[in-house]
């Protein structure tokens, strides 16, 4: 599934109540190459909260079903991958991230789609406030 497809999906609690809010973004752990947290916001002016990926039961169709909506206590600093500038470890720019494909069951990233073509996830090196750093191919 793509990050842009997950963004905006309603977050549905297990007891069949109404949706808690909508997905705003996904936090990626670059070291393991997988999605670590899901961030969602309740309502237009609601506070954004993070939820560990282990608490997500299923993704799609049309909703993200979560086990418990208890806010994660230790969410890592969030840097959105979409639109992020890409630099190689030699300091050359490689465009920006357009979209990311990931496996919804294992949470592993499958591929990054950038303005300069596709990147395999095993080339990721670091993600910070300025750029996503990848190994030079």
């Amino acid at each position: 599934m793509l990050f842009t497809e997950v963004r905006g999906l309603p977050v549905v609690p297990p007891d069949g109540a109404g949706p808690l809010g909508a997905v705003t973004s996904l936090t990626v752990d670059v070291a393991s190459g997988s999605v670590s947290h899901l961030r969602w916001r309740g309502g237009r002016f609601g506070r954004e909260s993070a939820l560990a990926w282990d608490a997500v039961r299923s993704v799609g169709p049309g909703a993200v079903r979560v086990g418990s909506a208890a806010a994660g206590d230790s969410a890592p600093p969030h840097h959105d991958l979409l639109g992020r500038r890409i630099l190689t470890d030699t300091g050359t720019g490689l465009g920006t991230v357009l979209d990311v494909a990931f496996d919804t069951r294992t949470a592993r990233l499958l591929a990054l789609f950038t303005t300069r073509g596709e990147l395999p996830p095993d080339r990721l090196l670091g993600l910070g406030d300025y750029a996503l750093v990848v190994w030079a191919g």
Binding site: T90, G91, T92, G126, G128
Partner: protein, 194 residues
């Protein structure tokens, strides 16, 4: 051969850790006494109103000098800027504007910019020179900006750089031409062909 870049173009280039965080941007380049290699950079903060930083970046902490960023391993590589520039001076005060002459005493011009090699080497490979009228003949108001290779030997005496005679045998008009010249493709012969 790594990409060549001018030292002036390095100013305002961001300093980014391998973790993707920008910690500073380059203010000026510091080179050693013989103008052979880069020994580090002085830094300013990233914000619009942030002034020069107390910390400098020594070349040993640089992972790679790239086209879009200076990559460092982590923030711990930064050292106090005063310690780094104690004996060496930054390019702006030391090299820019100094005279370039050959060993035989021929006047070549004044240094406008310093050409360095990117990647991990940090070598100084040449100079952009506002050439003397006798060195590059032409019309009186012709802009005589040429790239001169550093050559193997160079001595710095005060505000003058003394180049070996064979270093100025070939010059280039632009940076791509200079890249080819340094890589071994001889450019246009200065003056009449031999």
């Amino acid at each position: 051969m790594n990409e060549l870049m001018t030292a002036r173009s390095l100013t305002t280039r961001p300093v980014v850790t391998l973790g993707g965080d920008a910690v500073a941007q380059v203010k000026d380049t510091v080179c050693d006494a013989a103008a052979a290699r880069i020994t580090g950079f002085t830094l300013t903060g990233r914000g619009l109103l942030s002034g020069p930083l107390q910390e400098g970046l020594p070349w040993s902490a640089v992972h790679a000098l790239g086209h879009d960023a200076v990559m460092i391993r982590d923030r711990r590589g930064l050292v106090a800027a005063a310690a780094m520039t104690a004996h060496r001076q930054n390019l702006r005060s030391r090299l820019l504007g100094s005279r370039v002459v050959t060993e035989a005493g021929a006047e070549i011009g004044t240094v406008l910019d310093v050409v360095v090699e990117g990647g991990t080497g940090g070598r100084v490979v040449g100079f952009r020179v506002a050439a003397n009228r006798r060195f590059v003949p032409g019309r009186a108001r012709h802009r005589r900006r040429v790239y001169v290779p550093r050559g193997a030997t160079l001595t710095v005496t005060g505000r003058a750089l003394v180049l070996a005679e064979e270093a100025v045998g070939h010059v280039a008009d632009d940076l791509p031409g200079f890249t080819a010249l340094v890589a071994g493709v001889p450019g246009r012969w200065r003056g009449s062909p031999p």
